[in-house]
Amino acid sequence: MTLSSLDPSLALPPDPSLVQLLTPDGRRVTHPDYADGLSADDVRGLYRDLVLSRRIDAEGTALTRQGELGLWAPLVGQEAAQVGAGRAMRPQDMAFPTYREHGLAWTRGVDPVSLLGLFRGGDHGGWDPAEHGFALYAIVLGAQTLHAVGYAMGAVRDGAVGREDGTAVLACFGDGASSQGDVNEALVWAGVQRSPVVFLCQNNQWGISTPTSAQTRTPLYHRAEGFGFPGVRVDGNDVLATYAVVRDALDRARRGDGPTLVEAWTYRVGPHTTSDDPGRYRPADEVESWRARDPLARVRLLLEREGTGPEFFAEVDAEADDLAARIRKACVEMPDPDPLEAFDHVFVEQTPELVRQRDEHAAYLAGFDA
């Protein structure tokens, strides 16, 4: 027996059952089970989301290089998986993201500026989860998938599940996180309770330096069957297919037909984070081969072929420039956190000990002024 199990060359080949509606060269293809049903306007909307998501991400990376952020987790390459899934959601739905869901956040109406605080070190998440149907970012791998199932249990108890306009929950995780106990417990719970949860696994082929082949030898979407619900693999670089597959799964969920595992087959084109050096563990030609499957290019090709003129693309680019400028400005102007305020956020009902520690620290700080 050899111990080659962790050899990255074992990377899984794309499954023939990969759902695709738009080829890398921008041609629509049909699928027996899925259709996006989107108008040309809708597709333009998705294109805009893709461009803006990529731009938000580029700003994150740039601001880190400039020392304005401590870290950034780039989404580049995964725009279609996130935009497709996010646009498939309805306002009443709730998403539980990882730390890389900037495109999904965009579709949920979260101001990109409020994503920065976490990476700048100003806060641990600057948006209101309830307002946007978008939970705080989660860093401990997989923990959020159980929160998603619990939230779904609440939706069921509220009577908000079991009809066409019901509520569904999106639980995000990565190929690497699929190995965590919590993710698998979430699959157990969702399976047995038929929870209205769509598990969205963005298989971007890597978990930092660990290839997906070190997490599993069978396609990840197969995992679902063993927990009693369907799994499907979609071309995560195809925004139309991701949209169609996730919408279908969310609609099943909201109707009360139980969970689905959607594996979005995509690629982390950038480093794991701005602190990472992927050159140490993966070949450049792998990255190049995935760039050829770029999620934005194919939508643009489609739109151009179907008659969208250059003004539209120029408009979107201009909007991206404005957004980028706004993000940059807001970032550098972001105030540092008030050191004393933190003591008041530990509990709803404040404790004497924290009051004491806060007061002591206030007095200590005051000593420097004196």
Binding site: H124, A130, A143, V149, W189, P352, E353
Partner: protein, 328 residues
């Protein structure tokens, strides 16, 4: 914070039954209270603390979960995000560790992380402690892990009256509360008398002048027995809340007596007694007549049941420590 029933059923009940009545009242008071745990439904929990509640409130509100503690606490967090007030039962103390990440990294932090936007009114009930002759993993005292964790509140009840009210107060709290239930006292009986204290207050359960015995949960009765047996005039304080600590009550008592012995079943090193000793010495440096002494479980993994009478503090070991304190 939802209302807590202040009226109580009368009569003498066991501590387990008092908890049952308290949970019943909590379920009745707020439709968003959901109990979840292993075997808590038809079986009523291995200690019958949830007996009859599934029948009364249905399987959606008293939920028999799959067997996974991380799943129990993790989904409770999600339920809380949706506006529910989950009450998790961990079947035995030794089975809380698989849920540790969800408790320490998620539950304890979410209010802080969200700058107060996300509330976590989750109660985690844990039957804890030894003295029932159980097999391993069924007699642990994990309180120090939770007390050290910023963002959690930790309480323990010692009598049926407290159990009845404290469980309701814990459920009504908008902060996450770990409620440690002294399993060896589940069968102790007492009146459901009204409780004056808030959930976070200690109580002097026996006034005395010579030395203060500080205890909580199962060791309160042990200390009361010791005080009764002693020729000295010992004061016994039931801490009730371990986090936050009601330092005022404790300091006042030790200021009066000048001496203090802390008693708990958990291992000595970094058990809650360490914090109490450190704090009392800071506050009462010139007033203490003796160092704060500790009577605790040894620094052993919980030993086999036939050794637990050695491992667990008892009346004699408490009095032995009092003698040492008086010798200073």
């Amino acid at each position: 914070m939802t209302a807590v029933a202040t009226e109580v059923a009368t009569g003498t009940v066991t501590l387990a039954k008092a908890l049952n009545l308290g949970l019943d009242a909590a379920l009745a008071a707020d439709p968003r209270v959901v109990l979840m745990g292993e075997d808590i439904g038809q079986l009523g929990g291995v200690f019958r603390v949830t007996d009859g509640l599934q029948e009364r409130y249905g399987a959606d509100r008293v939920v028999d979960t799959p067997l996974g503690e991380s799943g129990i606490v993790g989904t409770a967090i999600g339920l809380a995000m949706r506006g529910y007030r989950p009450v998790c039962e961990i079947q035995f103390d030794g089975f809380v560790y698989p849920a540790f990440d969800q408790i320490v990294s998620q539950l304890a932090k979410l209010h802080f992380r969200s700058r107060g936007r996300v509330r976590m009114p989750v109660t985690i009930r844990i039957p804890y402690g030894g003295g029932i002759g159980a097999v391993e993993h069924h007699s642990e005292s994990p309180e120090a892990y939770f007390v050290h964790t910023a963002g959690l509140k930790v309480v323990s009840c010692a009598t049926p009256a407290d159990a009845h009210v404290m469980v309701q107060q814990a459920v009504a709290s908008d902060d996450p509360v770990v409620l440690l239930e002294p399993k060896r006292r589940y069968w102790d009986k007492g009146e459901l008398t009204p409780v004056q204290e808030s959930l976070w207050q200690a109580r002097v359960v026996r006034p005395g002048t010579d030395c203060t015995l500080l205890a909580y949960g199962p060791m309160v009765r042990t200390c009361l027995d010791a005080a009764t047996a002693s020729e000295l005039d010992l004061e016994v304080v039931d801490l009730r809340s371990l986090s936050p600590l009601d330092l005022d009550t404790v300091v006042q008592s030790v200021r009066r007596t000048g001496r203090c012995v802390v008693v708990h079943e958990a291992s000595r090193t970094l058990g809650t007694g360490a914090e109490l000793a450190a704090r009392l010495t800071e506050e009462l440096f010139y007033e203490l007549e003796a160092p704060v002494l500790r009577v605790t479980g040894f620094d052993l993994p919980y030993p086999p049941a036939r050794m637990e009478e050695h491992h667990l503090p008892d009346l004699d070991r408490v009095l032995h420590a009092v003698d040492r304190a008086m010798g200073f």
